[in-house]
Amino acid sequence: MTAIVETRALHKRYGRRPALTDCTLSVPAGSVVGLVGPNGAGKSTLLQLACGLLTPTSGTVEVFGAPPGQLARVGFVAQDTPLYPTFTVSDHLRMGARLNPRWDAALAERRVRQAGLDPAQKAGRLSGGQRAQLALALAVAKRPELLLLDEPVAALDPLARRAFLQGLMEFVAESEPQPTVVLSSHLLSDLERICDHLVVLADSRVRAEGGIDDLLATHFRLTTARRDADTLPAGMRVLHAEHTGRQSTFTVRAAAPVDDPSWVMEPLGLEDLVLHYMSDPSESAPADPRPVPEPQR
């Protein structure tokens, strides 16, 4: 598969503060990639590097196999969906048509109609959900091959969020060839629906990345009577271990669940999986867990 966005040892610093450290990533064509991580982890920085708004401190970022800048092929919606508050909805569409060589006016109008937007309404008077829908309509009517969205649903209520995601997925499904989408969000349940790849960022570094199906199929929580991590079968990589007086709970990575009467092994779920990679500073877990003091009784 060809990579649409490719970064190699990408670093970005703001003054002394690292915003992105040693980031090497490849975004395959036609995928929908979710960026997750705490605020300040580097998500916006990565998106802005990809669309050429920022230049790297060191390392490289390539989009369509070249340095970023082919703006006609890239759609970008920044955080808080910036629009011109005194422009009406139809002013925005007219502006889009003037500024974009590949503008799809029919698509833009259909989207605006579907979202129930009044063409005469000023953007400053739209609700959060309507603003997001207008911003999406403008971005997709460019017919971009790469769509970058920075927290597009953060400010929306659940109904508006679902409508936005439906619109986004409709765009992905109906475009030929299928566009590539990279979006950041804190809402893991949304990302689980719409993404096929996930990138977990924390403290300016990539902590985990992979196909969502693969991540879900290989991460488990194993609960058992107290035992040491090194007594578990060889095929399990222990990412995290927690012990109480009698019980041990392991977060493990394994090719498949292993049934054993002495333990319960359940899928970890995306939320706990991401929380694990966000919070655990060491990428590979210690082979033998540190001794945990017995609880005081």
Binding site: G30, S31, V32, R162, L165, Q166, G167, L168, M169, E170, V172, A173, E174, Q178, L188, S189, D190, E192, R193, I194, C195, D196, I212, D213, L216, A217, D259, D260, P261, E266, P267, L268, G269, L270, E271
Partner: protein, 129 residues
């Protein structure tokens, strides 16, 4: 036509959820041979789900011999799954009932029985070994 839904946080990959829903609909008789599955595009827009996920689910169902794509027309149900009501399962059901009675007599509760069942299903049988 089948309506899909996705339950996030279940730990089950979304494409597998779609596969399970088709299998379930077949078992319940809600889908039968010749029925068309909704178009990938329609599912993506309606359920707000990645079209790649829908494609992956349809491909898996195709590998299982349950559906077949007709290019340009859609994906159609082409296989069947045994329904639970089938009369030929009656001897199996009676045998299972006897076994369950024995398991309860041995002091196993529902959850232990389920755990034992799951474990046995997943481990290779005598013949496969």
């Amino acid at each position: 036509m089948i309506e899909f839904h996705i339950e996030p946080r279940s730990g089950v990959a979304p494409y597998l959820q779609l596969v399970h829903q088709v299998r379930q609909a077949l078992r319940l008789g809600l889908l039968s041979e010749g029925d068309r599955l909704p178009k990938v595009k329609e599912v993506a827009a309606k359920v707000a789900i990645n079209p790649n996920t829908v494609l992956k689910a349809y491909r898996q169902l195709e590998n299982e011999g349950l559906v077949s794509p007709r290019p340009g027309v859609g994906t159609f149900v082409s296989g069947t799954l045994g329904t639970l009501a089938a009369a030929e399962h009656e001897p199996l059901r009676r045998e299972l009932a006897r076994w369950l009675a024995a398991a309860r007599a041995a002091g196993l509760d529902e959850e232990s029985i389920e755990a034992l069942f799951r474990q046995t299903v997943r481990s290779p049988t005598e013949e496969e070994r």
